[in-house]
């Protein structure tokens, strides 16, 4: 059985309408632009997947990647920490028109909710957001004299990830700060799909250097010379 898909199109072919999709990256760093665009291509050609929920730190930048997904009309909800980026018109327009839902989550809580899902921990307590509007309605408790807010795990049906190196079993490494949410999302989704810049033979990643062990990865597709979202934004590219 191989985890390697021949094409980007094949890699995203099973994502259904209404799916909850985690997308790796922080800004453009570690963002799987080619996988996202393959999903948009499918939506434009077939009308599916529609009504998806996207989980990412941001809510898209410029007119490519997640911003292009939103603009295409396939996203009904964003779960993120910082939707108000400098080039976030795509999300802002839909949000202010009431056409897209937003669940705002503090960044560290977002990361830990995703990690907890991957680790089989249904809930945890964090000091973050205690006493603020974002803790309203949430269970709180005192531990050792300090107050904490209970947060639930955050799961997904699919994860779209960007890795630097990969091998045949799905072991992955990441480039520079492109790691960010990618290893956490790989653990938290039922089906994790990684675009890999350099997909090598068995043993091509030294076991001591593996960041994401292959057990967390279901599908890989090689994308040499991937595009970088920040560069696309700066070039004014519209997808």
């Amino acid at each position: 059985m191989t985890k390697i898909a021949d094409t980007l199109r094949d890699a995203v072919a099973d994502i259904p309408d209404g799916a909850q999709i985690m997308i790796g990256g922080f800004g453009g760093s570690g963002a799987p632009i080619e996988l996202i665009h393959a999903l948009i291509d499918r939506y434009r050609a077939t009308g599916s997947p529609a009504n998806v929920t996207v989980i990412n730190n941001n809510a898209g930048n410029g007119a490519t990647g997640i911003a292009a997904m939103i603009k295409a009309g396939m996203v009904t909800k964003m779960i993120c920490s910082f939707p108000r980026s400098s080039n976030a018109e795509a999300f802002n327009t839909k949000y202010l028109a009431g056409e897209i839902d937003l669940e705002l989550v503090p960044q560290g809580t977002l990361a830990e909710r995703i990690r907890a899902a991957g680790a089989g921990i249904p809930a945890f307590y964090t000091p973050t957001s205690f006493g603020t509007d974002l803790a309203k309605g949430k269970h709180t408790a005192e531990f050792d004299g300090k107050m904490y807010v209970r947060e639930r795990w955050l799961k997904a049906d699919f994860a779209l990830l960007k890795a630097h190196k990969g091998d045949h079993v799905g072991n992955l490494t990441y480039r520079l700060a492109g790691r960010n949410f990618n290893p956490l999302m790989a653990m938290a989704a039922d089906h994790s799909i990684a675009q890999v810049t350099d997909l090598g033979p068995p043993g091509s990643i030294h076991p001591e250097h593996v960041i994401t062990p292959g057990i967390f990865i279901d599908t890989m597709v090689e994308v040499p010379n991937p595009k970088q979202e920040e560069e696309l934004v700066r070039e004014g590219v519209v997808y």
């Binding site: 922080f26 800004g27 453009g28 760093s29 570690g30 730190n57 920490s81 910082f82 939707p83 108000r84 980026s85 976030a88 999300f91 802002n92 949000y95 202010l96 937003l102 705002l104 989550v105 503090p106 960044q107 560290g108 809580t109 977002l110 990361a111 830990e112 995703i114 990690r115 964090t126 000091p127 973050t128 957001s129 205690f130 006493g131 603020t132 509007d133 974002l134 990441y174 480039r175 520079l176 700060a177 492109g178 790691r179 960010n180 949410f181 990618n182 290893p183 956490l184 960041i211 970088q228 979202e229 920040e230 560069e231």
Partner: protein, 230 residues
């Protein structure tokens, strides 16, 4: 002293950042918030080793690269391009926020809309309509051994930003330990503002008049002296 004009004679942001930088401890791990607080790194005193943390998973980053040299996979939480110092490391987001909430950072410095005398901080929302965004602010106020704020002493309209209680939506409760303003350096101790330093040109009475809660004095109030040309 009566001639001191709070809006015109106050410190610039660079001067506030310079003052905050004088307190960077040798060997410390520090997170500087996006924007104004980031400026503090520029004034890091020579001979002190400080390791900077950024939420998106980098420890030990250095100056911005020259224009044209950016690698956009290597950015900070403000999504600006950075470089790495020797000894830098990468890690995923959950490890990054473990460093924050787990008490491993020595200092986090943030901006503020308002600070309450008990250390409450409001810096993420002005409560207006629009698109809300919080980022890592609510996490950063928990865990660091010291949470400092750099801010103008008053708003652009002259209203106090240091208050008995914040009126804007809170980022965190009783979290701020020190405030560097355009007029003074103030510690927060036992639910009170304790004045440590003030500009020598401003009188106690005038400083109190632009502060929204009682300023307490515990011992000597030092002069707040910064380089003039910043």
């Amino acid at each position: 002293m009566a001639d001191f004009n709070v809006m015109e004679d106050k410190l610039t942001n660079a001067q506030i950042a310079w003052r905050a930088a004088q307190d960077l401890a040798d060997g410390s791990y520090v997170n500087l918030g996006i924007g104004f607080p980031e400026m503090i790194a520029k004034f890091q005193p020579e001979g002190r080793e400080v390791t900077y943390h950024t939420e998106n998973g980098v420890l030990g980053f250095g100056k911005a690269p020259a224009e044209g040299e950016e690698d956009w996979d290597l950015i900070n939480a403000g999504k600006r391009a950075i470089t790495l110092n020797a000894g830098a490391s990468f890690f995923h987001h959950a490890d990054s926020f473990s460093m924050v909430r787990g008490g491993h950072l020595d200092l986090a410095v943030l901006g503020a809309y308002q600070v309450g005398q008990n250390g409450d901080l409001a810096n993420w929302s002005v409560g207006a309509k629009g698109v809300p965004a919080v980022g890592g602010a609510m996490d950063l106020v928990h865990g660091a051994k010291n949470v400092a704020v750099v801010t103008d002493h008053v708003t652009k309209k002259g209203a106090p930003k240091l208050l008995e209680a914040c009126t804007l939506p809170l980022t965190g409760i009783a979290c701020v330990t020190r405030v560097y303003t355009s007029l003074a350096v103030i510690d927060i101790r036992d639910g009170q503002f304790v004045l440590c330093e003030k500009l020598p040109q401003i009188s106690m009475d005038q400083l109190q008049s632009v502060t929204g809660a009682r300023l307490h004095v515990d011992g000597v109030v030092d002069d707040l002296i910064v380089p003039e040309t910043l």
